[in-house]
């Protein structure tokens, strides 16, 4: 007896529903990798949603400290948003360059993405430092706790993304556009774009809705 032993096609449709689409077999590595990474991103979004929920619960708990409208600077947030959205575009350019195996445009796209990401982090860090120096650190009130945690969690993700980005560039420099490196690049691009989606939610929920409280 061998594994290829087959039985008649009569059994292929045991419930007689008429249509049988035969499963073609295991998917390719590229699909499996991207799929798994999507599942990870979904789980990451679930984690963020907890911090969003905590923010929604605690946004009014200012403990006589400042309210959102008193500390949010919309100009800064607008600049941050533009930086992140632009970085998504340049990240997309780097992905395309990787697909056509063009090193120059790949390095350029990644480098610009990195600079934009670092600029975003700098602005965020200065906003945090400014608040802390005014005595409005995360320990001041439950509202500030939730604010710092949610926005900081996104910032930590961006920092990890920058680290990953630099590692990717080094990898391409050392190893070239190998199949496994291209798969990793695809995951990185998914990660970077997902951070944008999270930022859109942060922008809306924290800065816009939070100002109204």
């Amino acid at each position: 007896m061998t594994m290829t032993a087959t039985i008649g096609h009569a059994h292929a449709d045991p419930h007689h529903i008429g249509i049988v689409v035969e499963h073609p077999g295991p998917a390719s590595k590229r699909i499996v990798t991207a799929y798994g990474f999507w599942v990870f991103l979904l789980s990451d979004i679930v984690m963020f949603s907890c911090f969003f929920a905590a923010y929604a619960v605690l946004v009014g708990q200012t403990a006589d400290g400042p309210k959102g409208s008193e500390i949010f600077e919309h100009r800064n947030v607008a600049i941050e948003t533009v930086l992140l959205l632009l970085s998504s575009f340049t990240c997309g350019m780097a992905s395309i360059a990787a697909d056509v195996r063009n090193r120059f445009w790949f390095y350029l796209g990644m480098a610009v993405t990195c600079v934009l990401g670092l600029a975003f982090l700098t602005i965020e860090f200065r906003e945090f430092a400014n608040l802390v120096s005014r005595g409005y650190g995360p320990s001041r009130s439950a509202f500030l706790t939730a604010f710092f945690s949610l926005v900081g969690c996104h910032g930590l993700h961006v920092s990890a993304g920058v680290l990953w980005l630099l590692t990717m560039m080094a990898q391409v420099f050392a190893k070239g556009f190998r199949a496994d490196i291209l798969r990793r690049m695809m995951c990185f691009a998914l990660f970077w774009h997902a951070l944008d989606i999270i930022w859109v939610a942060v922008f809306s929920v924290v800065y816009l809705l939070g100002s109204a409280v």
Binding site: I7, S43, A54, T167, Q171
Partner: protein
């Protein structure tokens, strides 16, 4: 230099943890010395520690769970003895120690026994049932296992260095906040769960991707064995629920380490938000554990009744219904919070509704048995025992799902009895059924039936003797987690429960004896064909233990119960005259120490975080990152098994099966 760590962390004044810790240390050193002296270290390193083979990793998960089961069980024994002697006295365990024991017992049994046991079985079996050669991400699989082991290690270190949480297994604030728990106990708890939680998440992503994207040719969704379906449901729940645990514990840790105000009483923190968040993870967790067990029972009942599973499609529907509804009942863990009658009513009704798909499953198993030629092997005994126990345990669950009743029973021993009733009767019985059922697949020989049956009967009876008295004591008003008490009416029930604990200990001894006896008699118990139970799904279509590549050819599936159909076909077609197929080279992933090294650095980092040793934290993080970079830099991630070698391995098994078919008179 060493943060909060100094000699006062070692509890020199408490003999019990010290002696226990010393015994564990001696045992570990003894095993290590034996391994080194006998020269097994290279074998262990190359074949197990660095292995990315899903079968090996599955076995290691189950081994971890079994070792931790002994630890969690010891805690249970100590608690039962304490409650049986602590009537109008302090017993032998001081309160601060007793509190650590019940916290450690719950934490260990859920996170480091039940979870690794079911994840181990899923790892071992699911790729085989799907007819593929490995899981989606073999190296990540190894990382996930070793991170789980890191969590278990940290919990055990807390026994002798410092203390464990005294807060119960879910560490509710404000008790778990810095004000009321200033020690390192809660930090041990939280960091070990954070690290092992990452491991669990990795395993979840891996298995979801495996089931959805790696199935052999023709393995349509509605042809998958039921265990694959419940694995899918359970791992979807892991992916959706474990991030909630991570976020919640992160908030608790921020409160403790950086003075945040998520769950504090001051500055607007909200304690009840912790309850909502932790149970939004905690209730799905119950189903993460029990759904794979349901899958195991489905396989076992169908195999040993010699019939296809009754109502396969309704079973799939019920599984996915449970998967969804399990996210809509979390509030029944705190009806007494005061959310109001409307909210309580909705969650009470949802909690009763989730009993419906479970009832569907019970009927399906019963109808599978009906009219079948039932073989009462050990796995089948566990399954039948489960049905009886789970139905009654489920009924007490429907009782506490009624909010007014819950106001009386909340936090009483009635509740303790209920959840042990369903977790032991559901998850533990399922784990033991799966263990005996798939043991021959993993190791190539069956387990001794007599000792297995003895273990079943002692567990079954011991369970009822232990936990039925707790229902009664709960109805008599005894609350949970009492270190001592003054009510005479409770006392006899505590004595009976202690006797039941003794029976359960005998059951554990039977399990260990079964293992030892079976290993010694392994030649007599050898499974030569790879199909010891006359099985129905693809894991039985390869040898026991399977070759590293699982299948020489990707099986071609044409219906449900794929392997059963192949066997029928073989008997009809007189397979001897089939020409031998063309064997091909097989590429398999190379072993990698990434998981082990990464977990080593995670252990360093976790320990350093607990004791506030900041330089060591940085060291751990950098080490883990460097490990991944080294992994990402390697040039060859696969090796080739030549066709001749594949042919040599496969021919042996084909020969064994042929002789079985002819002996059975099928030709």
């Amino acid at each position: 230099m060493l943060g909060k760590l100094d000699w006062s962390a070692i509890p020199f004044d408490q003999p019990i943890p010290l002696v226990a810790g010393a015994m564990v240390l001696v045992a570990i050193l003894g095993v290590l010395a034996w391994v080194v002296v006998k020269g097994h270290l290279p074998y262990l390193w190359h074949e197990w520690i660095t292995s990315v083979d899903h079968k090996r990793i599955g076995v290691m998960y189950v081994l971890l769970a079994s070792v931790m089961f002994l630890r969690g069980g010891s805690d249970a024994i100590m608690m039962r003895i304490q409650q049986s002697v602590a009537y109008q006295s302090q017993g032998y365990l001081p309160p601060e120690h007793y509190n650590q024991i019940f916290s450690a017992h719950g934490t260990i049994m859920i996170f480091f026994v039940a979870m690794p046991f079911v994840i181990g079985l899923m790892n071992l079996v699911v790729p085989l049932q799907l007819g593929v050669r490995d899981v989606a991400f073999p190296t990540l699989n190894s990382v996930g296992f070793w991170l789980t082991a890191t969590g278990a290690l940290l919990v055990n270190i807390s026994l002798v260095v410092g203390e464990f949480a005294r807060t119960g297994w879910l560490a509710f604030p404000p008790l778990s906040g810095l004000t009321y728990s200033p020690g390192v106990g809660v930090d041990y708890y939280a960091w070990s769960l954070q690290i092992s939680g990452v491991g669990t998440l990795v395993a979840g992503i891996n298995l979801v991707t495996t089931v959805l994207k790696l199935r052999t040719k023709g393995m349509n969704y509605l042809r998958m064995p039921m265990f694959c379906w419940t694995t899918l449901a359970s791992n979807l729940l892991i992916v959706a629920a474990f991030p909630i645990l991570t976020a919640t514990l992160a908030m608790l840790l921020l409160d403790r380490y950086l003075g945040f105000h998520f769950f504090t009483n001051e500055a607007g923190g909200n304690v009840m938000m912790f309850m909502n968040l932790i149970w939004a993870w905690g209730h799905p967790e119950v189903y993460i554990l029990v759904l794979p067990a349901f899958g195991i029972f489905s396989e076992v009942v169908s195999t040993f009744s010699g019939k296809p599973l009754f109502g396969y499609r309704s079973m799939v529907l019920a599984t996915m219904a449970i998967c969804v509804i399990s996210f809509m009942v979390w509030l029944h863990h705190f009806f007494t919070m005061g959310a109001g009658p409307d909210v309580n009513a909705i969650f009470g009704i949802a909690s009763m509704i989730i009993a419906v798909p479970t009832g569907v499953k019970i009927y399906n198993w019963l109808f599978t048995m009906y009219g079948g030629r039932i073989r009462f092997t050990t796995p089948m005994l566990w399954s039948v025992g489960f049905m009886v126990t789970f139905i009654t345990g489920g009924l007490t669950g429907v009782l506490v799902a009624v909010p007014p009743a819950d106001f009386l029973l909340h936090n009483s021993l009635f509740l303790v009895a209920h959840f042990h009733h369903v977790i032991i009767g559901g998850v533990l019985f399922g784990a033991f059924a799966g263990f005996t059922y798939w043991f021959p697949k993993a190791f190539g020989f069956r387990l001794e039936e007599a000792w297995g049956k003895a273990a079943f009967w002692f567990t079954f009876i011991g369970f009822y003797v232990t936990f039925l008295p707790l229902y009664t004591a709960g109805l008599l008003g005894m609350t949970r987690r009492l270190q001592h008490y003054d009510v005479a009416a409770w006392r006899p029930w505590m004595h009976v429960a202690a006797i039941g604990m003794g029976l359960l200990c005998v059951a554990v001894v039977c399990q260990i004896t079964q293992l030892v006896v079976s290993i010694r008699n392994r030649e007599a118990l050898r499974d030569r064909t790879g199909d010891p139970w006359d099985g129905r799904s693809l894991e039985w279509a390869t040898s026991s233990p399977p070759p590293v590549f699982n299948f020489a050819f990707h099986p071609d599936v044409r219906g449900e119960d794929a392997y059963w159909a192949m066997k029928q076909h073989a008997k009809e077609q007189q397979l001897e005259h089939h020409p031998e197929p063309e064997y091909e080279d097989i590429e398999m992933p190379r072993n990698s120490p990434t998981g082990f090294v990464c977990a080593f650095f995670a252990s360093v980092m976790g320990f350093a975080l607990i004791w506030h040793i900041w330089w060591m934290v940085i060291l751990g993080v950098l080490g883990a990152f460097a490990t991944f970079v080294v992994f990402a830099w390697r040039d060859h991630d696969e090796y080739v098994i030549p066709a001749a070698e594949v042919a040599r391995i496969d021919r042996v098994n084909v020969e064994e099966r042929r002789s079985l078919v002819s002996m059975a008179g099928g030709v």
